[in-house]
Amino acid sequence: MSEAVVAHNRLIAPGYYRMGLQWKSPGVTPGQFIMLRVSADSLDPLLRRPFGVYDVLRGAKGIEILYRVVGRGTKIMSTLRPGDMADIFGPLGNGFPAVKDPGRAVMVAGGMGIAPFYMLAKDILKRGENAALFYGARGRTDAAIATDFRKLKGLKVEVATEDGSMGEKGLVTDIFGKKAVWLAGEASVVYACGPSGMLKEVARISKKNGLRCFVSLERAMACGIGVCLGCAVRTGKTAGKGTDRKKYGMVCSDGPVFPGEDIEWESL
C-alpha cells in the first residue's frame, strides 16, 4: 500500500528487534497498528503481518515497531536492512481511548504486549497525568525490552518474571492484582495487552475492583480493515447499535482495543 524505507532494524534483545520505518504516515493514535507486507517479491508468506506502533519517529517522519521473531514472516523481517523498502498499510484500528481525568493510567503488559504502550505512556505523561506500567515476561532476557520505559520520567515500572530473574517472581497479573485495590482508590484506568489468558485475568481483577479496563486483542488477520470478517471475537455489549445481528466484533476495525467487560472471555 504505502512504500516505507527501513531506517533501522536493530536487535535489542535476543529475538527482539526495533525497526524504524520512514513513511509519510497519517497521525497515529497509541494502540493503533500497521500491517507490513513481509516480502514484495514473494507470495509466501502471503498475508500482511500486523504490528502495534511502538513509537513515532522524530519529526513524525515515520514510525517504529518492536517485534519478536516467532515465525517465518518475522524471520524474514529481521533480515531487512536500512535502506530496504517495506510495504506498510495503516495506521489501522481504534487505539486506546483517552479517558478524562484518570487518577492514574495503568498499563498491564504481558510479553510482546508491551509494544503499544510506549507511545501511550509518552502521551499520558505529556498530558501531565500519572502512569504506571506492570510488565510480565518469562525472564531477564525478555524483560530487557522494557528498558526504554525505565527512561520515561514519571513512569512507575514494576516487573514480574516467571523465572524470577528480574523483578518479582510470578505473573504480571499477580503484581497487578496486589495493587488493584489501591489503584481503584485512585480511580485509575487500566489498559492491558498480552496473551488472552492474561487479559481475561486483568479484566476480571479490574471489574472486581471497579476499575475501568481496556484490553488490546490479537487475532490472525487477513485484511486489517474489517472486510474479510476473519478476526472475529465474540463481544457482548458493544455488539452494534441496539441490534443483535452483530455478535462478533472485528479486532482489526472494532478494536484492537475493547472495553474489558465487552469480551466474552469464555469464547477466546
Binding site: 502471503l46 498475508l47 488477520m221 487477513a222 472486510v227 474479510c228 470478517l229 476473519g230 472475529a232 462478533y248
Partner: protein
C-alpha cells in the same frame, strides 16, 4: 493485434444487460460492502463491485478462528456473516450507488425459497446491477456447496432466482462441481453469466495441539495457490458455455487476470489480493491497459478465448 496503441477499449458486455467499463470486479467476501475501501481507492474505477454474500436475515457467521494462512493462499470459514439484505439496502446501498460502478449483490440461502426471497427483495432496487448466486460456499452447513455440486439442486436455485428478478443473474460455481455439465445446467435454468471459481475446500491442522486450525475444521482455499486450478476450470467451462464467464481465483496481477481472459473469461474478479493491497484491482486494470497497448489489442473483448 500487433501495432502498439495509444488508446484501448476496456469495455465488456457480460450479457443480460450487464455492461462494464472494464472487466475487473472485486470478489464477494473480500471487499466488504465496498464502502470500506473508499479511503484507499477510487471506487469509480472498478468494473463492478460484488458485495459480501447477503442472506434474507442477518447471519452471525462461524466462531473464530475463521482464517489461516497456507502456502501462497489462505483458508477461510467466515460462514457468511452478513447484515442481511434489508440492512444492506438501507445502510450500504445509498452510499455505494453514488459511484459510477455497477453493484452486484452476491446472495445466499439455506433453502431455494430463501434464495428466491433475497433475489425478490433486490429486484428493482435502484443501484443494484446484478445478482450473483453463491451456490458454492464451502463454509456453511446448510445450502452453499450442497446446491453447488448437485446439478438438479443448482438448477432449482437458478430457476427460482431467475423468476424472482429481472436483474442480470450471475451464477457462481464451485471447483468441485463437474464443470461442463454444471455450466449447461445453470445455463438451461436461465443464468445470464457464470462466475468461477469459489474457494476450494481445504483444511489445516495445528499439529502442536492436534486440533483443526479453523473452528469449522474445513474452510475454503483462496489466493494465488489456486490460480492454476481456477484457470483450468474457466478453460473447461469455455469449451461449452454459451453465456459470458467471469474468472476468479488467485488473481494478483494483470498478467494473472489475462490468463483467465485468454482462457475464455469475459471479465474477472479479484479476491484475496485485496487483502495484500486494497487497490489491487486498480493495478490490474492499469496493467491490463498497458498490456493491450503493448500488444496492439484494441478491445479487451478480443482477448477473450484467444488462447492459441
Amino acid at each position: 493485434m500487433g501495432i502498439p496503441l495509444k488508446k484501448v477499449d476496456l469495455r465488456v458486455d457480460a450479457g443480460g444487460g450487464l455492461k462494464l467499463k472494464n472487466p475487473v470486479m472485486t470478489a464477494s467476501g473480500t471487499f466488504g460492502y465496498g464502502v470500506e475501501f473508499e479511503p484507499y481507492m477510487d471506487l469509480g474505477r472498478l468494473g463492478a463491485i460484488v458485495v459480501k454474500g447477503l442472506s434474507l436475515l442477518p447471519r452471525e457467521g462461524n466462531p473464530p478462528p475463521r482464517t489461516t494462512e497456507t502456502p501462497c493462499g489462505m483458508l477461510n470459514a467466515i460462514g457468511l456473516q452478513n447484515i442481511g439484505v434489508e440492512a444492506f439496502i438501507r445502510e450500504k446501498l445509498p452510499r455505494l450507488k453514488r459511484f459510477k460502478t455497477p453493484v452486484i449483490a452476491n446472495i445466499f440461502g439455506e433453502t431455494v425459497g430463501e434464495y428466491r426471497e433475497v433475489a425478490r427483495r433486490l429486484d428493482g432496487e435502484p443501484g443494484v446491477a446484478a445478482i450473483e448466486i453463491n451456490i458454492s460456499c464451502p463454509n456453511v452447513k446448510k445450502g452453499g456447496l450442497s446446491f453447488g455440486t448437485d446439478l438438479r439442486e443448482a438448477a432449482r436455485v437458478v430457476t427460482a432466482v431467475r423468476k424472482a428478478t429481472r436483474l442480470h443473474v450471475m451464477t457462481k460455481l464451485s471447483p468441485l462441481a463437474d464443470i461442463k455439465v454444471m455450466v449447461r445446467a445453470v445455463e438451461d435454468a436461465g443464468t445470464d453469466s457464470i462466475s468461477l471459481i469459489n474457494t476450494i475446500p481445504g483444511m489445516a491442522i495445528d499439529v502442536e495441539r492436534r486440533r483443526p486450525v479453523l473452528s469449522t475444521v474445513t474452510g475454503g482455499l483462496s489466493g494465488p495457490a489456486i490460480r492454476p486450478v481456477a484457470v483450468r476450470c474457466v478453460w473447461e467451462a469455455a469449451k461449452v458455455a454459451r453465456v459470458p464467464l467471469i474468472g476468479i481465483g488467485g488473481i494478483v496481477t494483470a498478467s494473472d487476470a489475462l490468463e483467465f481472459i485468454i482462457a475464455g473469461a469475459t471479465a474477472v474478479q479479484i479476491g484475496t489480493a485485496n487483502f495484500l493491497d486494497p487497490s489491487a484491482s486498480v493495478g490490474v486494470i492499469d496493467g491490463m491497459e498497458d498490456y493491450m497497448k503493448r500488444h496492439g489489442v484494441k478491445k479487451v473483448k478480443n482477448l477473450t478465448g484467444s488462447l492459441g
